[in-house]
């Protein structure tokens, strides 16, 4: 029986903040492939293309037939708990601080035997549902859940160490002026966030939805302009120590390619918001979040970047904007490196064109702000780091993985406005 997570008490100002420690981080190269799938929330193992044997732990050769052709595939998530134990001590500091800890041997329906973390509601020798997620070291691990959802399941200590649940957390949404920002606020409130700081730039300019936003309980509207270093630093000085999750909804999007532009100012505005805005937020909020990765039940846990899928490969129809998104994407990778081991996950959501005024003439399918907001909350709840949202994004990512140079040609040779 999982007890519901109580609202965390106010932090004792006299107590030292716990320094984040990390579960074991080392993995072989094939182990890192497993982690990459886990970062997407996928349970994927190697399958021998020749004899179909499903293989674990990941390796270089099929142990049954010696084929070297091993393909990573999503596998059925059912299994049976064969043996279990509760660890009472550990040589690793992270686990030592979190005893007791339940682990067990699970026989997967797909074939292999695996060692896994076991959710508290799984009964002895029961059937389980496996998930693969990244832990606080950033590497992929397996956890066995009860086959059917149980009450307060998300509040289990071991499952919560893999997720970035918004419940009871304090969240900064960097731009609340837009429909996307406001939908994100709504979704986070519904997910049980205890406080949402909503950034509003240029308060002297009116925007739709401002009255409704101010009325939402738990919402505090804060001046924030990601293009202004002083503004970002001042806000971080005020709320940096209680920002558990940061969702960067600020964006500057304009259609047009480089030669179509007259002068660099629009491109500079795109960079100023999309890249330098992110940079300012990282410098101002990053260190505090990095230090609070183990700070209780409402520890800092996630940084959410919302990126056009064309950050992966430039789309000349929005040529300079997608170039700035590419810069932001690369910076988000840098951020992942800087947060490594701190317990804060960088969540990147890649999506195709948004249903929003600056993408208005683009054909469907487009992603609505509400759908994106719900996806953000879902990713946080599940602890997923890399999300690809919508058919356009899924298509682009698939082509990118297949061959990024072929995708580049497809995108740069398409006619204006034509769906790829």
């Amino acid at each position: 029986m999982t007890e519901p997570l109580p609202r965390p008490p106010k932090k004792d100002p006299q107590k030292r903040t716990m320094t984040p420690t990390s579960p074991p981080h080392a993995r072989s190269r094939k182990g890192i492939v497993f982690s990459t799938f886990a970062a997407e929330g996928r349970l994927a193992l190697q399958t021998c293309a020749a004899c179909k044997h499903v293989i674990y732990p990941a390796r270089e050769i099929c142990p049954k037939c010696w084929s070297m052709d091993l393909q990573w595939q999503d596998i059925p998530d059912g299994g049976e708990l064969i043996a279990e134990t509760t660890l009472r001590t550990s040589v690793n500091t992270y686990f030592r601080e979190r005893m007791p800890w339940r682990i067990g041997t699970v026989k997967l329906d797909a074939g292999p035997m695996v060692l896994a973390h076991i959710h508290g509601d799984v009964g002895e020798y029961e059937r389980v549902k496996m998930i693969a997620r990244t832990d606080k070291s950033g590497q992929g691990v397996l956890l066995a859940l009860p086959e059917k959802e149980t009450a307060n399941m998300a509040d289990d200590k071991q499952l919560r160490s893999l997720t970035c649940d918004p419940k009871h957390r304090r969240i900064l949404v960097t731009d609340g002026r837009t429909e996307l920002g406001q939908c994100t606020v709504d979704a986070l409130v519904a997910a049980g966030a205890s406080k949402i700081f909503v950034g509003i730039a240029e308060e002297w300019r009116p925007y739709p939805g401002s009255a409704e936003l101010a009325k939402i309980p738990g919402v505090e509207i804060m001046p924030l302009d990601v293009t202004d270093t002083i503004s970002v630093n001042e806000l971080a000085g005020e709320i940096g120590g209680k920002t558990d999750i940061l969702v960067n909804t600020a964006e500057h999007v304009r259609p047009g390619a480089a030669m179509q532009r007259h002068g660099i100012l629009t491109a500079r505005d795109e960079m100023e918001t999309n890249y330098f805005g992110l940079m300012r937020l990282i410098q101002a909020f990053g260190p505090g979040m990095r230090g609070r990765g183990a700070d209780g039940d409402n520890s800092a846990c996630a940084w959410v970047n919302l990126l056009s899928v064309y950050a992966l490969s430039n789309w000349p129809v929005y040529g300079t904007t997608t170039a700035s998104q590419a810069a932001a994407y690369s910076l988000s990778q840098c951020l992942r490196g800087e947060f490594a081991g701190s317990g804060v996950k960088v969540v990147n959501v890649l999506f195709g064109p948004l249903e929003e005024s600056w993408r208005q003439p683009l054909p469907p399918p487009k992603v609505t702000p509400k759908r994106l907001a719900d996806t953000i909350v879902d990713a946080l709840r599940q602890g997923i780091e890399n999300v690809t949202l919508g058919p356009v994004a899924e298509d682009i990512v698939r082509r990118f993985k297949d061959d990024p140079f072929v995708l580049e040609r497809e995108l740069t040779q398409a006619q204006q406005g034509q769906a790829v």
């Binding site: 579960p23 074991p24 080392a26 993995r27 072989s28 094939k30 182990g31 497993f34 674990y56 732990p57 990941a58 142990p63 064969i82 043996a83 279990e84 134990t85 509760t86 660890l87 009472r88 001590t89 550990s90 040589v91 690793n92 992270y94 686990f95 800890w101 682990i103 067990g104 041997t105 026989k107 035997m113 695996v114 060692l115 896994a116 973390h117 832990d135 070291s137 590497q139 691990v141 397996l142």
Partner: protein, 395 residues
């Protein structure tokens, strides 16, 4: 692949001698090289052999990095014509014996020194766990980092569920080994242990308790392998080798490890020696956890799988009991000095058979069985082996 049946060669004329145990220390600032050197130095003193006499070297160590056996040759002043580095952990005693015996038998070497040793710094155990094996790194260590405690507690609870072993059975093994250890001056554990203390002990990883776990330490063990006539000519008490077996990655499809390689090869083990289990005077099992000792008893044929509980309760396991087991106390009471833990049982068996055991001597010890088990790769031990030794014609 079709193959004609081939009779495995025995070990006639090849013997083991010179059991050396360097007293263990909980922590040592010295490197593994120092501990191996102590063992070799002792070997020299006991046998009168000098570097020139040793033309074969077999080394087993976890903490020798950046060296292997190759570097040791120059370091220790040896010029062997046969060299091996055996990385099989707790099975290293039996496996170094098998390697060295064939070298001597074929004439590739005359006298092989087998040495095992490891140091133990404050952080050694944790460091070893993090770099133990690729599969441990990818698929075991990330799950609570209990080290072998996690994997063996899973095996223990599985064995209890499948084979009916009770905590009292494991407790009896631990208690008897402690009795043995109190008669062995170099054991690190010095206080008696009762079954009550075992049953009430602190949980480490359910159901394993404190007394189920070995104490990692620094130490070294050694012995030599030579021809029988050389041993006699040099007045070295020795033991003959009746049979050996070795197996790796046995039963890979068993969901949880419940049996080891011995179960595959036990018939050959006894038939090659021409000996039955009830003729064995003492058994040394690799005891990183009591459940593994039980598994060895079952798989070698001392009792049926599933009947170990009755077997253990029906016997006294002390050095002077009905079924002497781990007569110096085993790793559980002596300490686990890394790879030397794989030699501990073999060296103690040679000691018993060559009349060099002290207060814990098994009366009339003639035949000893030695079993080894090692390298927990991810969720199971991969390496196993066993040897049957007989007291030599010592005068």
């Amino acid at each position: 692949m079709a193959r004609k049946k081939f009779k495995r060669a025995g070990y006639a004329g090849v013997v083991v001698a010179a059991p050396v145990s360097v007293p263990y220390e909980r922590f040592s600032p010295e490197p593994a090289h120092w501990w191996l050197a102590r063992a070799l130095s002792e070997l020299g003193k006991r046998t009168g052999l000098s570097p020139e006499d040793i033309d074969g070297l077999c080394v087993s160590s976890f903490t020798l990095f950046p060296d292997t056996a190759a570097g040791i040759t120059q370091h220790f002043g040896l010029t062997p014509r046969w060299l091996d580095h055996v990385p099989t952990g707790g099975a290293s005693g039996v496996i170094t014996l098998r390697r060295a015996a064939r070298a001597v038998q074929s004439g590739d070497a005359n006298i092989v020194a087998c040495i095992a040793g490891d140091t133990n710094h404050v952080d050694s155990f944790r460091a070893m766990l993090t770099t133990f094996s690729r599969f441990s790194q990818d698929a075991s260590y990330p799950y609570g980092s209990g080290g072998p405690n996690g994997s063996f507690s899973l095996m223990t609870s599985h064995h209890m569920k499948s084979c009916g072993t009770q905590r009292e059975d494991f407790g009896k093994i631990c208690v008897a080994q402690r009795v043995n250890a109190l008669q062995y001056p170099d054991a690190l554990m010095k206080s008696p242990l009762t079954l009550e203390q075992y049953m009430d002990a602190r949980l480490i990883a359910d159901p394993i308790v404190l007394f189920d776990c070995v104490m990692p330490c620094a130490g070294a063990e050694a012995y030599v392998v030579m021809r029988e006539d050389d041993a006699q000519a040099n007045n070295l008490p020795y033991a003959n080798i009746l049979s050996t077996i070795e197996r790796h990655n046995a039963f890979p499809d068993d969901p949880v490890q419940i049996r080891g390689g011995w179960a595959l090869d036990k018939d050959e083990f006894w038939s090659m020696a021409g000996v039955k289990p009830d003729q064995v005077d003492l058994l040394q099992t690799y005891d990183d956890y009591p459940v593994i000792s039980v598994m060895q008893m079952e798989d070698l044929g001392f009792c049926e799988k599933g009947a170990a509980s009755e077997f253990i309760q029906a016997n006294t396991l002390t050095y002077d009991g009905t079924f002497p087991h781990n007569t110096s106390g085993g790793q559980l009471s002596v300490g686990q000095a890394g790879a030397a833990g794989g030699f501990l049982g073999l060296v103690e068996a040679i000691r018993q058979l060559t009349g060099e055991a002290g207060e814990n001597a098994v009366p009339d010890a003639r035949i000893a069985a030695v079993s080894g088990f090692g390298i927990i790769n991810f969720d199971r031990g991969l390496c196993s082996g066993a040897a049957l030794l007989e007291r030599g014609k010592n005068d």
